[in-house]
């Protein structure tokens, strides 16, 4: 039961990653690409949490937390760069 739903969830999240990646490649403007990267890291967190349940290991949690922090900093940096043309003032 849990195994089956985990496999279905893996395929859903993988498809979500693929769609976000297509938007990253296509995205007509820069903010679209920033948003696609943001979505990509959120989906990566979801995938890592699922992997942690699947392999019954708490190791993946730290990676997910790191990706959450670094992804947020990356999004803020890119948006700030678009707003000001400079990250630190």
């Amino acid at each position: 039961m849990l195994e089956t739903s985990l496999l279905i969830a893996f395929s859903f999240v993988a498809l979500a990653l693929l769609l976000a990646f297509i938007r990253l490649l296509k995205g007509p403007d820069v903010p679209d690409r920033i948003l696609a990267l943001d979505t990509l890291y959120i989906n990566a967190i979801a995938l890592l949490v699922l992997l942690g349940i699947y392999f019954h290991s708490a190791l993946y949690f730290e990676a997910a937390l790191l990706i959450a922090v670094m992804g947020f900093v990356g999004t803020i940096g890119l948006s700030k760069y678009l707003l000001r043309g400079d990250i630190m003032e």
């Binding site: 985990l6 859903f12 979505t39 949690f61 707003l83």
Partner: protein, 105 residues
């Protein structure tokens, strides 16, 4: 019974993650696209993290609450990053769909 709850939470989370990305892929302009992935952040990853916390609490001998850290962090940071992205998009005057009410130009 417990396995059913876990499976339901996992499927709900994966479904909303997929819905967020479909929204990101299909919606017509940036300001609408901004709306999609927020569902993935709150409902999708939230449900998955609750499932993970329940799973590790019941299958190991200690209560596992550190998943809540990621949830809190995402709930705090998602509006901030969405706000900054929208501000940047308005700043560089991105095109909007024609029938947007109170549009910027």
């Amino acid at each position: 019974m417990f396995e059913w709850i876990l499976s339901a939470l996992i499927l709900i989370g994966a479904f909303f993650t997929l819905v967020g990305s479909i929204g990101l892929y299909k919606l017509p302009d940036f300001f609408m696209r901004l709306h999609g992935p927020t569902k993935a952040t709150t409902l999708g990853v939230g449900a998955l993290l609750i499932a993970s916390a329940l799973y590790f609490s019941f299958n190991t001998d200690q209560i596992s609450l550190h998943e809540v850290l990621i949830t809190i962090f995402l709930f705090i940071t998602a509006p901030v990053s969405a706000h900054l992205m929208a501000k940047a998009a308005i700043h560089i005057k991105l095109k909007q769909v024609k029938r947007t009410q109170n549009s910027i130009e």
